[in-house]
Amino acid sequence: MIEPRRFFPAAAMGGGVMGVVIAIPVIGDLLRCCFCIGVMAGAVASMKLWLDSHRAENLTPTDAMTLGACSGAVTAAANWVVSLPVRLAFGEGLSSYYGSSTMLPDLARSNLQALYTPSPVMIVMSLPLQGVIYAVMGAVGGFLGLQYAFATRKIDA
């Protein structure tokens, strides 16, 4: 039986910090749009925190997916909370600012322009769906993190 609650202090810290980091314009956009690497890095950071605080325990791949999913959901929530006021208050202005900026690479400019244009209602309604998407990508990150970064702490399913 998997108990996600046991991962929670670590998942909240790793996921929360990464949620704030990926809310930072430009850096966060690059981290998010490169295969959700920011969300996956948050899952790996959460796993590191958990493993460091539970030295006598190891993880199965399923545990790693659960930990990563929790971390991903926290990342989505933290990112949403941090970026919400900016998007609601300054979305239109930032969108046109980034759209006309020539110093940014095309990739970052397109991402920022897309990020700051939607309607407020949709921004609010999208949180649950975004939370689940980040959780799936977090589960992928947790699984890959255990396989590659913490292989010595892996136990078979």
Partner: protein, 157 residues
């Protein structure tokens, strides 16, 4: 476990399903916008790198679309039964192929080419999801065996 895999597959297939939803007009328009908004922060939406389905640009770029499609297929149908080590190497090869394509494309050696972008994304998604699915399947089988072993019929009592 099948429910989790099906749910995850459905979720990551949303960018593809959205085009179909919009084309058949069987669901309200706000659902399309909600899916767009949920995926909006995850991708750059550069015009030359986004596929157009049913006359509408997708809500993610073609590499992300490939990644999500690969994940959906991997979660739904899985892959061949292989050693974890073999899947580990396959994922690394898939990531290396995507990195080579990204670097050569952004260095201007070739224009963004949708089939290559879709294929490299899909390869990462499918190998990862198939590996995850295999681990989940192994765990489910072990739990089933352990459950059968501990039942009164199996123990002969």
């Amino acid at each position: 476990m099948k429910g989790v895999r099906f749910g995850a597959a459905l979720l990551v297939a949303l960018p593809w399903l959205r085009a179909w939803i919009q084309a058949c007009r069987c669901l309200p328009d706000w659902l399309n916008r909600l899916i767009d908004e949920a995926f909006r922060p995850l991708c750059h939406h550069m015009a030359g790198r986004v596929l157009v389905l049913a006359g509408q640009p997708m809500c993610v770029c073609s590499r992300c679309a490939g990644l999500y499609a690969g994940l959906a297929v991997g979660f739904l149908v899985g892959g061949p039964r292989l050693l974890g080590r073999t899947y580990g190497r396959m994922v690394l090869i898939a990531i290396a192929a995507a990195v080579i394509d990204v670097v050569t494309q952004d260095a201007g050696l070739h224009a963004p080419y949708h089939p290559a972008r879709l294929a490299t994304g899909a390869l990462i998604g499918w190998t990862t999801a198939a590996w995850m699915g295999q681990e989940l399947q192994t765990r489910a089988s072990r739990e089933l065996t352990a459950g059968a072993g501990s039942s009164p019929l199996a123990s002969g009592s």
